[in-house]
């Protein structure tokens, strides 16, 4: 299980002390002048890890969005199912996440998923283990069932923590997406479905060929909204124990005494301002792109926006 500060990357030790380039020598930071000092300061190994963590956030977004959409699609299909127990599961899935703060789900799933995986492995790998898994305040599984194995390398631990985080995000946002998609499926004009039935398409064919292609334009405003919420939920990675931008901003910004190579007072405010600008840029760009996509998708659709485009053309 990943805990904050558990896996300090190895890069920390690298190029902080080795300035090979003669022009920008960072060998002894205490002698440098202000601008040169700043250049050296901003290129230390820790700062490189900080810049890399922006990539972590973008990677999370890139992986989570399709995963959540898949979960949401499954949830919406389940909620429309003719088979009652499946329908209740789908409806329950979408209902619970709406009533409870998402951060509670994040904190819950991170432990619950981790324990769930370990428990399953425990059952498979150590069938002759006779002690209970829960002993008072402890959760004990056999060594072979630990996730990840205590002997596995650093990157496995990091990837496992990240994968758990992605799965958690996908489950929570999948429920939101299921809600949006379920609504969108209900908004597709009834006449379209009836026409398909009149042409003799089966239930399955109607769903995949008529309903699904047409529902996206109705789902897009909701999904766009969800994308914005997803962007704004990414700093919660910090709470899940992943070394994301919030972790590094706190780490690098806190005041450094003269023991450090680059001593400075409490600069966390400036680091968080950088994060603020990063997020504002990300949401702004998303907003512009989404409105473009919306225009494109409305093309030829039986909606107000589609009609407006037809009249303008």
């Amino acid at each position: 299980m990943a805990r904050p500060g558990f896996f300090l990357p190895k890069i920390l030790k690298s190029n902080a002390h080795q300035g090979e380039q003669p022009i920008l020598s960072c060998a002894d930071p205490k002698t440098l002048e202000s601008l040169h000092w700043l250049a050296c300061y901003l290129t230390t190994g820790k700062h490189m890890a900080f810049y890399g963590s922006f990539g972590t956030v973008l990677l999370l977004l890139a992986v989570t969005a399709p995963a959540a959409l898949a979960f949401g699609f499954g949830g919406a299909m389940a909620a429309r199912s003719g088979f009652a127990p499946l329908r209740w599961c789908g409806k329950g899935y979408t209902a619970i996440v709406r009533g409870v703060p998402d951060i509670a789900f994040f904190l819950f799933f991170v432990i619950a998923l981790d324990q769930g995986f370990e428990w399953l492995r425990h059952k498979v790998k150590c069938p002759d283990w006779d002690m209970p898994v829960r002993q008072g305040s402890d959760f004990v599984v056999c060594d072979a069932a630990k996730m990840p194995l205590s002997s596995s390398p650093q990157w496995v631990h990091e990837s496992y923590g990240f994968a758990i985080a992605v799965l958690t995000f996908a489950i929570v946002f999948g429920a939101f997406a299921a809600n949006v998609l379920y609504g969108a499926m209900g908004t597709v004009p009834r006449a379209q479905i009836e026409t398909a039935e009149a042409y003799g398409l089966s239930h399955r064919q109607t769903f995949w060929r008529i309903l699904v292609p047409q529902m996206w334009v109705f789902a897009l405003p909701g999904l766009g909204n969800l994308w914005m919420i997803l962007i704004k939920a990414t700093p919660l990675l910090f709470l899940l124990g992943v070394e994301d931008i919030v972790y590094w901003a706190r780490e690098l910004g806190s005041s450094k005494t003269a023991v450090f190579d680059f001593p400075h007072p409490d600069w966390r405010l400036y680091y968080f301002l950088t994060l603020l600008v990063f997020y504002l840029a990300l949401t702004r760009v998303s907003e512009v792109v989404l409105s473009r996509v919306n225009m494109r998708l409305s093309h030829g659709q039986a909606t107000v926006a589609g009609d407006a485009q037809r009249r303008a053309a």
Binding site: R98, G99, V100, I103, L107, G222, I231, K232, L239, L276
Partner: protein, 279 residues
Amino acid sequence: MSCTQTIEDYALRSIGIGERLLPRSDFTLCEQVVLIGSGLIWNVYFGLLALGFGFILAVSVAMAKAAPAAWVRKPAEWFIFVFRGSPLFIQFFLFYETFVLLPKIGIDLNLGFAEITIETRWLTRAWAGALIVLFLNTSAYAGEIFHGALRSIPRGDMEAGDAYGFTGWHKFRKITFPTMLRLAWPAYTNEAIFLFHATTLVYFSGFPAWQQKGDALYYASYFADKTFNPFVPYPILAGYFILLTLAVILIFGLVNARLNRHLPQDRRQKLRVRPQVIR
């Protein structure tokens, strides 16, 4: 220890009344239910005050954003953009660091005739600092909602107002404001629900829980950490929040009924009781 004793000890623990030490071992279900419920006091406190103060600022921001003069409109647009475009989590950190950087002793303010010292230490405490952040945040979200409603007021209503000779403040008070509120109310209900959910972020985002006085999620995660069993405290928390959400829907539904009381029965807008995520 009986459950009544636990209630006496911990029911008001989150505001510093009762037993000082939190339970450390052999956690009973009663302890978890009582302590997490005690934390809920803070969630309700943050939610209610932020909504209450935020409502006033939100209406002002919405009016400012709809104003024709650029020097009024631009600041409102930027306010909404910054607070809606960035994560609440980052806002909490940012404000906390700002409050920490303020001089510890206070700021000396020279008013010309007298010199006063403004105490700033309390800003770093969650009850004030986090409340300010939540207040600004909900003002921005609600401001955008109200602005949208302001733009969708039927033109006929305004023309009728003009025809009756309503102008200025009178017209705003009697026509613009009630109609805007009526149109915005379903979305505003959503905002209120998710604001209450957002209050759980307070103690996980820089603001320390002083003397272990935290909110519901703080205690839930305390129990989950100690027992390493998330399957008891988090469902308790979920139960409390579902009740809180239902209470919000009920109260806002009553207000909604009052806002729509002049309309004929069949045209009255029913409040959607299925909250959509808007944050």
